[in-house]
Point group: C2
Chain length 335, copies 2
């Protein structure tokens, strides 16, 4: 018996303007978010409910071939776990960092994992016999924040992940833009300080080289000689310490320069701030909002929001990609 007052199953997970995913009783998708350090894995129902999570070490030092083998083993293990629990795994979604071509399902390049053009989607389908989707970690994180998290109900969302690095995802109507070569949204590699520190990418003064969580720690150390995490710099700045205040002020200014550029090019309604640095909460959002406002002239100011899904955004986003793929396959089968 169905209660007509109930929202349909999957309502929360459908992209804007699409019918809800629906899904059948007991169905789950297998989701993996693989980073340089760990793999965050989940079994997720079509309505977005997470029914199981597990974490593994990536052990990237073993080389890319071993990491790929581990990904396939863990994914297979998750389908086994689902079946043992009386559930039916129906698709698999995988998120990885670097340059990712979602259209061909290939991991083109990854600094952390050593991937060079690995056909991960094909490998997953071959091992599991299920429809598979490959996504970029920050883009699927943005997808999850836009559809299930802080950006829910908003059509134009920019998700900015500020951690060891900085990357963004531009999400419109529930889809994240990958670009022509899988490298859209690289706001971390926009030059904001031409005479600033050298970035990992080779250029000088990229936003990531000035304002990532790692850069905040480095700049404080350069100034004081003492080591500190970004979180400690934020705490000390809030306490009035001079060096920390200066580093944090420069960080806010650089981030505001980057967001002003993003707003000029993307014109979004909402900016969702995630990653380690967003843990600073109001100490980040409040001064950043003021600094961004000072930089906008005719542009409409986006609302700044803190990410809502924490470090599960990646695996939830991988699940969303898998569900989107499954829905496409089923629509195609019906047609």
């Amino acid at each position: 018996m169905t209660d007509p007052a109930e929202p349909p199953a999957g309502a929360g997970i459908a992209p804007a303007g699409e019918a809800p995913a629906g899904g059948r009783v007991g169905e789950v998708v297998v989701a993996l978010d693989v980073g340089g350090t760990g793999m965050k894995c989940a079994l997720v129902r079509p309505d977005g409910r997470v029914v199981h999570t597990e974490r593994h070490h990536t052990r990237a030092e073993r080389g890319p071939a071993a990491v790929v083998e581990s990904i396939l083993d863990v994914a297979e293990g998750l389908t086994g776990k689902a079946r043992a629990d009386g559930l039916t795994p129906v698709a698999v979604g995988l998120a990885v960092p670097g340059v990712v071509d979602e259209t061909t399902g290939r991991a083109i390049w990854s600094a952390n994992l050593g991937f060079r053009d690995v056909p991960l989607r094909k490998l997953l389908t071959a091992r599991l016999g299920l429809p598979a989707a490959l996504g970029h970690d920050v883009r699927v994180g943005g997808l999850a924040e836009a559809r299930l998290g802080a950006g829910r109900g908003t059509r134009h969302v920019l998700f900015l992940a500020i951690g060891t690095g900085i990357a963004a995802a531009h999400v419109v109507g529930g889809s994240a833009f990958a670009g022509a070569h899988g490298a859209a949204g690289e706001l971390g590699h926009v030059v904001v300080r031409p005479d600033g520190p050298v970035c990992g990418c080779g250029r000088r003064g990229c936003l990531e080289a000035v304002a990532s969580a790692a850069a905040v720690g480095r700049r404080y150390t350069a100034l004081t000689g003492g080591p500190a995490t970004a979180a400690e710099v934020v705490t000390r700045a809030a306490g009035g310490e001079e060096a920390a205040t200066r580093v944090w002020r420069e960080t806010i200014d650089a981030l505001a320069d980057g967001l002003a550029i993003a707003q000029a090019l993307y014109d979004t309604e909402v900016v969702v701030l995630g990653g380690g640095l967003a843990e600073a909460g109001a100490d980040l959002l409040d001064p950043l909002g003021v600094a961004l406002r000072q930089r906008l002239t005719f542009q409409t100011e986006p609302r700044l929001l803190r990410a809502a899904l924490g470090d599960e955004a990646g695996s939830l986003g991988a699940a969303l990609l898998a569900l989107d793929t499954l829905n496409r396959v089923r629509r195609h089968d019906r047609a």
Copy 2:
């Protein structure tokens, strides 16, 4: 009799992935591209063939209400001209500068025309009794270059118009992104020289304040005391004149900084350069390509192409918008 080897009517004008517009015998759309100085108008067949053009002065000094009245009169005159020639006008497309909300069909703001939230689409439909579409001049220009011009056959296109101002259109799969508030693609208002000249928007060092055709002339005059157009600066630089060489070098560097930012955020395959400054041809494209290459690290380099449609891109793009709208209306009527 139809030759099966012939491309279907409208093939050139259909957005990527869609069936061609087709259209019926004798049908035309009315297209207007209204700028601060002039109106470029056309009657265009569904296959993209232009069957009539005319130009009018905008006379913006009369104020926005008079300009709106002129737009409606000129559009009505074009439908009359079409009917007198035995053609059937089936839709109207209008392009204007400024901040344009394509979804609601309203001209939100325009410096040149004085528009403040004018419901142009509704006014056109009321006057002409035809489906109407309102677009942003540079975004529809980008649409035309992507679908009919230099970007034809390419899925991810950035159109950069460098004239009195600088604006860009990001076109993917035959659609241009307007953003949440009709202000996406404002690459001219990205700060590339924090200590540079003050921009018309109020900020210092916007790309437009350094590298528009107008800014090139201004900077040359500031350096030499003598007036010159951007075209003259290019010619003198090619002839080895020192001041012109310096101004042109700085222009290329600023444009390359802007394009490196656009590539980091949009990741396109092709950049189509239009507007007055693109008349410089190889004197612009060759050094700009080299300067952009120096600024890219892990990103894929886009191909730089000169715009193919000249100053008809805007009216052709307005025609494309009108045809897209008409096709939506007809699909809806069939369903």
